[in-house]
Amino acid sequence: MKRKVVCVGILVFWGLVVCTILSVRIEEQMTIQAMKVEAKEEQIEPGYSRLMLPADALIQDENGTHLYFAETGDGWEEGNRVVERDPYRYSVEGDRIVLFDSLDLTSYIQYASKPVKVGELIMWCRTYPKGEDCYLVLDPGEPDQSLEGWGTASVTEERDGALLVSLEGKQPFLESQARSELGFSKESRVYSLGDVRKLFGTFPLLAGMAVLLIMTVILWAHSLRLTRNLRENRTLLAVNAVLGGGMLWLFRCLADQVKLPSSLLPAENILEFGHYAEEFGAIFHELEGFSAAAASETLRALPVNLALAGTVVLVGIVLIFVLIIFERRIVSRVSEIISAGMIHFRQNN
């Protein structure tokens, strides 16, 4: 009974360590990246000026329009957190927001990588050029500025209700920034195909992480069987413990390499598979109608990366079963070599 309790305890302990590693990375990936804007003073008449913000800073969702800023939280809510400005402290005049408090020097959220919610963690960022990219725009409306907002932007291909736009992309990709600066309608959806391919490119890494977890659980089950005869299997159990520790370290290294594009992640739960199905369903449905190279490259990226991921999983599972089957032989062979080496060393000395 004690043996089983200790083994289950070790599994729970390992599970908590894995959750700790994952939660650090998940929180990093799910933190909203946002560009800030500060109110500018505009002189209305001598001796009287007002603080103004661009209308971009107003964020619309199903509950209405909101003006958000960030504040350092305390207690459990430490870190930079989203706070909503009281609607009675500002008014919207045309394409600008007027702040009633003339001393309001707060930085407001102008563009965000994901839908913003009060209390969410936020990280200020600046966008910088990332190289050639292609944006898929759904329901673009009538662009006001002919895409001049981003210099080299040009329409590659156009279909009914969708556009493919080639341009010098920005990192990180902020959909609301792209929508606003390129002049698309507020109801449009803009997807960076570079980000989509980047997400698919992480599948083999994610598969590697998943297979390491599966391998560790299989190794644990094998070790549970070995504990029935503790004295005889001491060496094997020690080897399994070292292997388990090594796989955990490898898992952590892989987790550090995973960088998911924030624009494609769900708002609340990274494991919300319904969100991914909806988003990628819409993207692929539109991309299939395009013949541009960027579209076909993106469509090809998914099956290629899925195949790689599947291979990683298969190799991992086969590897662990092979290891379990030949473990005793390998360990005894290694012990013989070490013993022979030590005897040889003693004889020489």
């Binding site: 004690k2 309790v5 700790t20 994952l22 939660s23 799910m30």
Partner: protein, 260 residues
Amino acid sequence: MRKREKRHVWTTLFAGIVIFLCLVPFLVVFVGGFWQEETGVSVQAYYDVFLGSPRYLFRFWRSLGLCLCITVGQIIVSVMAGYGFAKCTFPGKGVMYFFLMILMVLPLQVTLVPNYIMLDQMDLLGTDGALILPGIFVPLGTFIITQSFRAVPDDVVDVARLDGCGLWRILLQVAVPIAKGGIVCAGLLAFLDAWNMVEQPIAYLKDFTKYPISVALAYVTPSESARQFVCCVLVMLPPLFLFSCFHREMVEGIVFGEEK
């Protein structure tokens, strides 16, 4: 016979009701973690605590490290003190043991202020040392281990001494293995006491980030009841594991001291 059977049924029924009433809070905790007001049955709270953010797990590991330091320190001190009280003779032993027992029955609040003053003078307030140091020198562990060492036959100690064993060898290789049950019991109680401490962190620590999970749990937003329940599940894990593993040693440790 029928009367006896009837009594047996009623006794079983009564015991079942009492057990159910004892288990109801735990059932509420487990089930409550899966219930969200807006969405009904959901694992969102478990995701929030175990995967969504590392702050709960970091707090858990921090508390676990703190409790392990207190437990190990208390065991070391209590083993040495317990052996001294059980097997050594020195002037004032009876008086010191009497004072030890008085300290043991005093409520924690009596020593809170003197400890605070001492820790302030030692510049330990607001640090982990403010929790660890008073936690190490707790009389209960010494009392339990003294009783366990008293049950070690004097003949065994004398034989070891005749064989040439010094004090430390007798302690570590003769007395400790025999009194293992009592030591494990003292360790278990020390860990549980440290894991559940509330007054000491509130009194000695100022920074919320240093609070152990037992205190920080109370600061989880009341509107997020599902998340609170999941945090309770997290907090329950170490005591559940330790009790499942060492409940036999715990009973032995309590009983052993009475058998001479």
